[in-house]
């Protein structure tokens, strides 16, 4: 089925709780000088309407790559297989041109570094209007301009009439990220992917941007996929969490479930290396070892070289993702039922 405005309109409006974006068995491989690098190795992921899904993982765990793959934004050195359906519509294997009506209009994405993510030679207003007019070619310039003003106001940029005509370098870091959000919310997308949007910002600004994303989500009911490596951020914003390790899902569950009753040693490791949580037991325990080389990922469970619970089986067989513990909770660990119970007090 070709993607055009009409088929998009025919898609049913998602009800809360329905999956708007379904990713199945997604694999992304990069051809490099040293060989094939598997960045994503069979990922399953659901984004439900009107929820904030947090994706956590270390650098190179494939969290950003998988989202960029869905939107077709990876360089040509990437090979993508598997399936990603937006409201039933397959996105993988589409031509760039076919993805254009989806990008920015149905699924939008904001990026880590707002300094480099905005084109330095165009005015902020022009860049927002460009996003509006890409999906509303018949809209008059005046209307698009007014819509851009409205958006700048929505994301809390003071004096939008002045700011709209300024260049990105005249904005502060936090303001740039606000402008970025305005640009990506221009067409009321069903899914907003936020790729570490606070990582490059000062701590105080981080909090403001988190607040803004939450605020915008509540007002527009857009589903948000929030990619981060910071569990603290997840705790503040996410409804559900998906933990990724070495290009695969380690554990999925509601945010409360995962923080209190995780069934995966990797999630456990992450939690005990988090000062705010570890503080209660008095010990801060970083995970031993380094993330694996994706050029030669370890056989079996990729986490086994660093796992305190690893058995012979873990070095041989890749653990499947299976339901365990709380409702909606899934864990990819052979010994998920043996993961010790929650620490007292949490």
């Amino acid at each position: 089925m070709a993607i055009d405005a009409e088929t998009l309109e025919e898609q049913p409006e998602p009800a809360a709780g329905d999956a708007v974006l379904e990713i199945r068995n997604l694999e992304v491989t990069f051809k490099t000088e040293d060989g094939m690098v598997s960045a994503v190795r069979g990922l399953d992921l659901d984004v439900r309407a009107d929820e904030v899904l947090g994706i956590v993982g270390e650098s190179g765990s494939g969290k950003s790559v998988s989202m960029l793959a869905v939107l077709g934004l990876l360089p040509p050195t990437a090979t993508i297989t598997g399936s990603a359906k937006f409201r039933g519509l397959e996105l993988i294997g589409r031509k760039q041109k076919e993805l254009q009506p989806i990008r920015g209009a149905k699924i939008a994405m904001i990026f880590q570094d707002p300094l480099t993510a905005l084109n330095p030679v165009h005015r902020v207003g022009v860049q927002i209007i460009e996003a509006i007019k890409a999906h509303n070619p018949d809209m008059s310039n005046r209307d698009a301009y007014n819509r851009a003003l409205e958006l700048l106001e929505l994301v809390g940029i003071p004096r939008p009439r002045v700011r709209i005509d300024q260049y990105p370098h005249e904005y502060s870091g936090g303001m740039r990220q606000r402008a970025m959000i305005a640009m990506m919310m221009a067409n009321d997308p069903d899914v907003l992917i936020a790729d570490e949007p606070t990582t490059a910002l000062d701590v105080t600004i981080q909090a403001q941007i988190l607040e803004l994303v939450k605020n915008v989500q509540e007002r527009t009911h857009t589903a948000v996929v929030f990619i981060t490596h910071d569990l603290g951020v997840i705790a503040r914003i996410a409804d559900r969490v998906q933990v990724m390790y070495a290009g695969r899902t380690a554990e999925v569950g509601d945010v409360e479930t995962l923080f209190s009753g995780s069934k995966h040693p990797y999630t456990r490791g992450l939690l005990s290396s988090l000062p705010a949580l570890a503080g209660r037991t008095g010990k801060l325990q970083p995970i031993a070892g380094a993330p694996p080389s994706m050029l030669h990922p370890p056989p079996g469970c990729a986490f086994h070289p660093r796992c305190p619970m690893a058995q012979v089986l873990c070095t041989q067989e890749q653990p499947p993702l299976r339901a365990i513990g709380a409702p909606q909770q899934l864990s990819a660990c052979h010994f998920a039922d043996q993961v010790p119970d929650t620490r007292p007090g949490t």
Binding site: L68, L71, L73, P75, P76, Q96, K97, L99, Q100, P101, I102, R103, G104, A105, A108, M109, F111, D113, T116, A117, L118, N119, P120, V121, H122, E130, A131, A134, H135, Y167, H169, M180, M183, M184, N187
Partner: protein, 321 residues
């Protein structure tokens, strides 16, 4: 930015003075008189008349003020006014330089763009390979090869008594009188090709690198993520941003034009600024050479300023103040 623009003035003064001084140190305008066994008294009088017995700085000052007052004097070589001959040489060089420039910048930019947009395609590989050969073809080698090709080789192969294209006589055939566009254009083809081969290679590589740097930047990913068409991504974002360094580069390149085509002019006997200098230089023709130096340096300096201004104009992050 203002500082950079103001800096043009001392460069102009010191640069022209250095060339003026070098000219004085390497040439002797009274050499001819010396050879003719003129009496010492006459020699001193001759030097005084020319003004070459005064301190160098005074001579430089006189020369510069005369230049700016339009008082350019009489050439030793032709015994006529300097300006008409210099004007012809300048016009010839500018015609050649601009025709060649438009040709090689256009081709280079187009090749570089396609190479970058279709990175690792056969076109990209071919362009890259050819550009290395082009870069390594000095004009004097390529020029001689071309002459061999359109001359001896063509005549032998097609049993012709005339070469395919003219390569002697400079600007016009000796039989042409007055303006003749066809003849003029035919005389331009080989010099333009000789000037272009290296420049096309340089511009296409420069453009390719610039485009690739831009293509891989975050804001291009943002532009795509907005859902705008690929055409618009290329024209409004990639090309627009890659154009900034290219414009600066082109401006500086054109600034060097007035004094820079010597080799090509020498190969084809093309009466431009380069041959003008070499001819007058061997005769120590100061009145003819001083305006040449001034014009050439002014060109360089003015185009450097234009390069800076265009940079500020194209990139909002740079401000003029």
């Amino acid at each position: 930015m203002t500082r950079r623009v103001l800096w043009a003035i001392p460069v102009l003064i010191v640069g022209s003075f250095l060339m003026f001084a070098a000219l004085h140190m390497t040439t002797d305008p009274v050499a001819a008189a010396r050879h003719n066994n003129v009496t010492p008294d006459a020699l001193i009088r001759f030097k005084h008349d020319l003004g070459v017995d005064r301190p160098l700085l005074v001579q430089y000052w006189t020369a510069v003020s005369n230049f700016f007052r339009g008082n350019w004097g009489t050439s030793f070589t032709s015994q006529g006014p300097v300006w008409p001959q210099l004007r012809t040489a300048l016009a010839n060089t500018l015609v050649l330089g601009i025709v060649a420039g438009v040709f090689y910048v256009t081709i280079g930019v187009i090749f570089g763009m396609i190479s970058a947009v279709k990175q690792y395609s056969w076109f990209d590989h071919a362009t890259t390979g050819l550009s290395f050969i082009g870069l390594s073809l000095p004009p004097f080698v390529f020029g001689l090869l071309l002459i061999l090709l359109v001359g001896a080789f063509y005549e032998k192969t097609f049993h012709s008594s005339t070469p395919l294209l003219p390569f002697v006589g400079g600007v016009y055939s000796p039989t042409t009188h007055g303006f003749n566009l066809w003849d003029r254009a035919r005389h331009l083809i080989l010099p333009v090709l000789v000037l272009s081969v290296q420049e096309i290679a340089i511009y296409s590589r420069y453009m390719r690198t610039g485009m690739l740097e831009t293509i891989n930047s975050d804001y291009i990913r943002t532009a795509r993520a907005k859902g705008i068409s690929e055409r618009r991504v290329i024209s409004h974002h990639i090309f627009r941003n890659a154009l900034i360094p290219l414009t600066t580069f082109t401006a500086i390149d054109f600034g060097a034009l007035a004094g820079g085509l010597i080799i090509t002019e020498q190969i084809f006997g093309y009466q431009g600024m380069g041959l003008y200098f070499i001819d007058r230089y061997s005769n120590a023709d100061y009145p003819a050479l001083i305006p040449w130096i001034m014009i050439v340096i002014i060109f360089v300096v003015v185009f450097n300023v234009l390069a800076d201004l265009s940079y500020a104009w194209l990139d909002p992050r740079i401000r003029l103040d």
